[in-house]
Each structure stands twice: as C-alpha cells, then as structure tokens.
C-alpha cells in the first residue's frame, strides 16, 4: 500500500492524524493532492457544507464556535475550515479566537483546521475545496468553511458551500459597502450578529433595503437572523434556518447546483492541467524567453504570442504522433 493509499484509508476511517496530513498535502503538493482526492472522491457527497463569511469584526469565529457546539448537542459531527488570509510576515491574527476553537477540537466529533494562504494565495480556493472533500470523505455530517472579507477570491472560496451565511454586525460602518459588493448575491441566510447593540435594527433594515433592490425571481428568500454569538442567543434559530435551507435544496436545486459545481471544478482542472503540461513544457524551451523579450520590445502582444506558441505546439504534437 502506498503512503497516499494509507493516508486515504485513514481519512475514510475518520482518523484525525490522517485527515490533518491529507489537508497538509492539499496545501503543499498539488500533484499528490490530485492523487489523494481521486482515492477518496467516491466517498464524498454526504456532508452538508456551510459557508460563513462577512467583514472583520462581525464575530464570525465566535458564531462558528457556537454553531459547532449546537450541532454537537444534537449529535452531529462537524468539520471546520478557517481560511485565514494572513500575510507571509505578519503571521497569524486572531490567535485568541483560534485558541478558543482549539479547545473545541479536543472533542473527537470535531475537526478544526486553519488553511495557510501564505504560500499559494492563488491555490487557496482549490486547497479549500480539497479539504472539504477530505472532511466529507472522513464522515463529517456538517462542514463549515469560514472566510474573512468579501473580495473575489473569498467569493470563489465560499462557493464550495451549499448554504452560504453572510454575517454582519452593527457599527461596522463602511463595511456594509463591502457586503453589498460581493456577498449579497450569494447569501442564503443573513445573520446580524451582536444584535444586542442599539443599532442592530438599522443593520437589519439596511440588509432588507438591499435585498429589496434584487428583483430576480426567487424560490428562496434569504432570511435575516439576529444573533448574539457570545451568549448563544439566536443560534438554535440559525441552525433551524440552515436545516430548512438544506431541505429546500434537496427538494430541487441541489442536483442543479451539484452539476454547476462539477462543471466549475472540471473546467478548473482542465485549465490547471493544460497550464501544467503546456506551459511547463514551453518554459523549458529557449523560444519562450525569446517571445518574452519580443513582448517587452512591443514586437508582439501577449495574446498573439500565445496563439503563435500554441499553434507551434499543436503542429509539433501532430508531427510527433506521425513519427
């Protein structure tokens, strides 16, 4: 049995160390990750995947912690993936939150992992998707993916989820702009956390106002749930809505979304493999550098250069095949 098969079997048995090692592989060695995912993929598709996002200061980590505890109370196993966009030289922010989460993870029914974005900011969406598959194959009933911010890459990451929760809180000021920008369209449930603050009602109304601008026809109207994560207030109601949304998906949309997700992942995989093979090969040839210099010298534009290189490549391929 190869090392990867051993890890895959460990994952399928729900072994913590195997799960941790498997996720590390997805972060660091994309080629091994691909083989590993191929091994476990047949055992995925059972977990309900929840995405949780929103601006800094909204209380996402505490909310995640309370959601985990509530699911544990009703006997479900939970995996958590926190995507943390810390910089190479600032190190980890929000350490306190993470320590509190680590306490939770002494529970055998919970697996918590922060994804390191420092080494491959571009590959983080891919690694997160793989980590979700690993926790899914490991038998977790519920998987929560928590991201900070609302940039394009966060939207990309959070799309792995079936139920997307967008969290906001009163008094975050301009950040409502950030929510508007990217997250409003993809939210299945809104949470106004810190709802014991005096401006909570205004935050609820702000979200309602933006929702009313959305004139697309909808079969699911995103509810707005008020919570006070630190005291646990509103958490059972939130779980109820998550379950409602899960049932709603299963009644119809789930298959459509699964197909869309499969298509997105397949196209991404095709792009990656083409990049890996064609570009890797081109880079080892002298003409690649020559073309770069031509682009810098404005003798040819990048798109035309790409076209020329690809055509040369196709010609060579057919010659090789004939030989």
């Amino acid at each position: 049995m190869s090392k990867l098969e051993e890890i895959a079997n460990g994952v399928l048995a729900g072994n913590r160390r195997s799960i941790a090692r498997a996720i590390t592989i997805t972060e660091n060695t994309p080629e091994e990750a691909q083989k590993l995912i191929a091994l476990i993929y047949p055992h995925t598709g059972k977990a309900h995947i929840i995405g949780l996002t929103g601006p800094g200061g909204a209380g996402k980590s505490t909310l995640t912690e309370k959601i985990v505890r509530e699911y544990r109370r009703v006997g479900k196993t939970v995996g958590v993936i926190a995507v943390d966009p810390t910089s190479p030289f600032t190190g980890g922010a929000f350490l306190g939150d993470r320590i509190r989460m680590q306490e939770l993870s002494t529970d055998e029914g919970v697996f918590i992992r922060s994804m390191a974005t420092r080494n491959n900011p571009g590959g983080i969406a891919k690694a997160t998707k793989d980590a979700v598959k690993i926790l899914d194959a490991a038998g977790k009933d519920v998987i929560i993916v928590e991201t900070v911010g609302a940039g394009q890459s966060e939207v990309e990451i959070i799309k792995v989820a079936q139920t997307i929760i967008v969290v906001h809180a009163p008094g975050l000021g301009d950040d409502i702009q950030a929510i508007k920008a990217g997250m409003m369209e993809i939210a299945d449930i809104f949470v106004v956390n810190k709802a014991d603050r005096e401006n909570a009602e205004k935050t609820v109304m702000d979200i309602q106002a933006v929702l009313q601008l959305d004139t697309r026809e909808k079969t699911w109207i995103p509810p707005i749930i008020k919570t006070v994560a630190v005291t646990g207030e509103g958490i059972p109601q939130l779980i109820e809505k998550i379950e409602e949304h899960r049932v709603f998906l299963q009644k119809g949309l789930l298959h459509k979304r699964s197909l869309e997700k499969a298509e997105a992942e397949l196209i991404e995989a095709i792009k990656e493999q083409v990049t890996g093979s064609i570009i890797g090969k081109l880079k080892r040839e002298r003409r690649f550098e020559k073309v770069l210099q031509q682009i810098v010298d404005r003798e040819i534009d990048p798109a035309s250069a790409a076209e020329r290189l690809l055509n040369q490549e196709l010609e060579k391929n057919s010659q090789n095949d004939e030989a």
Copy 2:
C-alpha cells in the same frame, strides 16, 4: 479599414471617443479586444503606470484627483482607471466623488474611466490591463489605476502598475488587518491620508512596525508620505516620491519587472485561449454532460475526468492530422 482599425487609429491619435469605445470593447467583447490590443500594442510602453489602493474610507478618490491636478500643473497628460466593485443591483457607490472627477475630465489632457465589474468579475483584471494599454497607446504620460479593497483580485489588478501606492488613514480600525494581509508586500509607497487627524502618527507607526517585520533584502525602502488630500497638503511630496521610484525602476528593475509582467500576461493568454478553444469545444459535445453526471455521482473526480478528456482530445487531434 475595419471598424476596429478605425478605433485603433483614433486611440493612437488620442481621440477621446475612440478611447472610450476601445475600453468598452475590452469590457464587453474579449475577442474583439484581443484584436484591438494587437493593433495598438506596438505603441505602448511609454506611460508611467501608478496603482493606488487601500481600504474604503481612506480617501483614495480625492487623493487620485489631487495627483491628477498636480501632474496637469507640470504639463503631463493623465489617464485614470477606477475599478469599482459595485454589485449588479446596488449600482454606483461614491457617486459624489465620481461627479467631482468628471469635472476634471473636461480637461482635454485627462481621461477618466470607471471600469464596470458587474458583468465579468473574473475578467476585470484582464479588462483593466487592456484599458491601461489603450491609455498608454493614446499617449498619456501617467496612468493611475485606482482600486478599492485588498482582496486577491485587487492585488491582481494593481499589479499592472509600476509604482504601487497603498493608502491608509487614521481611525479605520480593523482595516489595517486588510492592508497587512495583501498589500504590504507590494507597496512601493505608503500614504497616510487625513494626516491632520489626531491618530495619524499612530497609523504611521503601525505601518513602520509592519515594514520592520519584512526582513527581505531591499534596494527600495517604501517611504511613508503624510497627506491631507482635501487641502492638497503633501501632494507635491508624494509626486516627488513617485518620480523617485520611477527613476529607481529605470536604473535597473524596470526591465526585470517588464519581463515578469510579460510572462504573467503570456501565461494568462495561453490559459485563456486553451480554455476558449478546448473547453468551448468539449462543452458542445455530449460526453461533457455525461462526465459532469459521473462527477456528481462520484464515479470519477474532476481532476481525473479532466485528464481523461484532455487525453481523448489529444488522440483525436493526432488522428485528424494524420487523415
């Protein structure tokens, strides 16, 4: 003369309407954009491209406006591209700022354009790069690209610039985290705007502290400039630093950076074209949908499916070539 050739000639002559039409093409019709860029590309490479980014509320728009006025004062022509991540249904935020900028654009030596991100969030980085090339070919001496936020996609956009300015302001609280996350590594110049506020010195020290954590060897230490954009205070000093950085680049780094940028653009173009041709073709075939269903049914994982499809494609190609 084709319509595109006409537009290209108009761009090269610096005609405003042609420039506007050309940028619209980059936003909406990627295939036409590629042809257009090929036509104007030989005339690019002369402008100095400045990137300006930072969290909401830092005063980026006012700062951009003042930089434009200062460059105009010394007789340089300027192009501005504002990348505005407004949502499909919220419409344009910061309308007041934009109106103020429009006043500026009655000046023949200034061209200002907001890029619409609503239709293709993924394509915005590409469209912005193309718009920069258009303004460059149109003869603008200085081009400013202004983006909001600090997500991965904003980092991607701002990389088009030769001199990157990261703007911050006192009292934005947690947003320093956002700057730390993605922008610190790429900043050539820091600006602490609203420097007349009482906490300005603390903001400067925060940035210094983060800078000191960066132990990489550097030939350019990013300076921190204090400005009060609304009164114009500090703007001449900022322009001076931008010019210093431009000269610094020309003494050595510029060629290296040009090669890196050419490589990034070439690889991106190869990926796009492969996607456009191979994936476009695959999607029209029945087996594509069959494979999607197999992925959903967990019979095969996306990466293995991609491998299989690509191999089939290569085999078919060689058969076609032999026939």
